[in-house]
């Protein structure tokens, strides 16, 4: 067990390093001369050359990569070419907000998807099951940012119960924090919940046809008890896989949702920096987002090992 975990950690670390190389290639090598981008097309050749020396661009790419990634490891993301301020503190502040938003929406999505998916599976042969399944199908087709706008229209514009956007730090005012969190978290979680509920449904249907459920029924357990005692643990594995795969989608969903609700998270920061074409900042933010995806996938992977003993011996 310990060996398996250590091995997974090793694979995770390697993946992070490779992802950082890809990020560096995309944002430091592919765009061409960063000094020219920072100064604009009107700058003279001499100015560009001076700027390139200042930014350390005259060094070989491998040295620049090691310099960048080495500093990132100690939390230094370099300096913005636009504001001339260090990027790290901005990223850290924004990351905290995005993590809260994403995790809350995962919890909401699961709270919705598990009962709803089981219900649609159990009621599969009844008309209401078909209707519920149809609702989840429509839920999958609605983009999260549209769900967000609809929630704003109902709860902020019409009913005036909740704010239409913005963010309050939980340290300052817990009530205000929750008021600002609830709509974006529901918007982000609802679409994920709809996707997940479809997997919960097909996973439960699959498990209900398994021999061990038939055995449990034959022993005299009711359908409900057989499902809860033996079925759900087995149905959880494919759902967890999908949850892991959905994390990347969830995170880019958060980028858009943060824009809808003017939340100062990592997504808003990324889009601001993209608009300014501040590539060093974009590079740092992209790396954090990608590592976030990889880290959550890694945690889901570990959680798997806990749920399903069969996977412990596997590579």
């Amino acid at each position: 067990m310990v060996l398996v975990v250590l091995r997974r950690i090793g694979v995770f670390a390697t993946t992070v390093v490779v992802a950082s190389i890809v990020t560096f290639l995309l944002l430091s090598i592919l765009p061409g001369n960063a000094a020219r981008i920072a100064l604009g097309v009107q700058a003279s050749e001499a100015d560009v050359a001076a700027q390139a020396t200042l930014m350390g661009l005259d060094r070989p790419a491998i040295v620049r990569y090691l310099d960048w990634f080495g500093h990132v490891l100690i939390g230094d993301f370099g300096t913005s070419t636009v504001s001339r301020q260090p990027i790290g503190p901005e990223i850290t502040d924004a990351l905290g907000i995005t993590v809260i938003l994403v995790l809350t929406s995962v919890v909401l999505a699961l709270l919705f998807a598990i009962p709803f998916g089981i219900l649609t599976a159990v009621r599969q042969r009844k008309p209401d099951g078909a209707i519920l399944s149809g609702i989840s199908q429509i839920g999958v087709a609605v983009p999260g940012f549209l769900a967000g706008m609809l929630l704003v229209t109902v709860f902020a514009v019409t009913l005036r119960w909740l704010p239409a956007g913005g963010w309050v730090d939980p340290g300052e005012d817990v009530g205000g924090f929750l008021e600002h969190l609830i709509l974006p978290a529901i918007a982000l979680g609802s679409v994920q919940g709809a996707v997940l509920s479809r997997y919960v449904r097909s996973s439960v249907l699959e498990v209900m046809r398994e021999d061990f459920i038939r055995t449990a029924r034959a022993k005299g357990l009711g359908a409900g008890r057989a499902l809860f005692r033996h079925g759900l643990r087995n149905a959880a594995v494919p759902v967890m896989t999908v949850l892991g795969l959905q994390i990347a989608t969830l995170l880019v969903g958060a980028v858009v949702i943060e824009r809808v609700f003017s939340i100062p998270g990592l997504g808003s920061l990324l889009l601001d920096k993209v608009a300014l074409r501040d590539l060093p900042a974009v590079q740092g933010i992209v790396l954090v987002l990608v590592v976030f995806v990889l880290a959550l996938n890694f945690l889901v992977d570990l959680a798997f090992t806990m749920i399903d003993p069969r996977l412990r011996s596997a590579t």
Binding site: P143, L146, V256, L271, L294
Partner: protein, 286 residues
Amino acid sequence: MTAIKPGTPTRRAAGHSGGATLWAGLVLIGLVVLAAVVSAFWTPFDPEGVFSDSILRPPGAEHLLGTDSFGRDVFSSILRGAQISLLVGTVAVGIAAVLGVPFGIVAGMNPGRLDQFMMRSNDISLAFPALLLAIIFGAIFGAGTVTAMVALGIGTAPAFALIARSGTMQIMSREYVQAARASGKSGLFIGMRHILPNISGMLIVQASVSFGIAVLAEAALSYLGLGTPPPTPSWGRMLQDAQGYLFIEPLLIVWPGIAIAIAVLGFNLLGDGLRDRFDPRMQVNR
């Protein structure tokens, strides 16, 4: 959606359910295609101008769905917006298939080191979701329709690679493939002649699902201002424009929202219906 008890013949009942889903999907996609084609020749009003005398009109006899903050007829913009959604979806899925399918087939045909290496790199590309890649490309090359299509295509390719690989691995163990290898046929021949035709069903399902995702991603990009630039109408940017007028005319977000949902639902249902057709084992589940 039809249920099947264990022991009942599955083919007819499931075929029926798959058929209904398939047709529902085709009808919805048909509506979108119709809107795109008709709007190429005719729209009730010009969707690209500015009309200061007809700003924010409610839905009525003259403007079926009302007008937006630039005085443009919303119905005309919705019709024309179908073009950009279908264009971005088609090109993105095309790029994804061209990149991902050969990659997946080569990995599936060469189990061992090469396959492991290719799949590890595929895993890393999966950590760069299509929408994130599109935002990065927007930063590097400047935002626009072409940037969005290429980025979404590259970002979707890993999904095709995964599907193509798992299909290839199933086909590789078949006797006719082993016979072809024994008779000295080249890898390229086996890939083209035996594998590609046999995995085309699952690839078409994947294409349909990916098309829906690409339509969603295009809408999100346009909403963020990283998609098709104005004045070309796109559903995502209609939502962005409408958000500024939520307090005055909330209906403006409903129409493009419905249009996006119809397109995405259409491709998802088509994907589900085709999956029922191609994969008999899945028939019972969906």
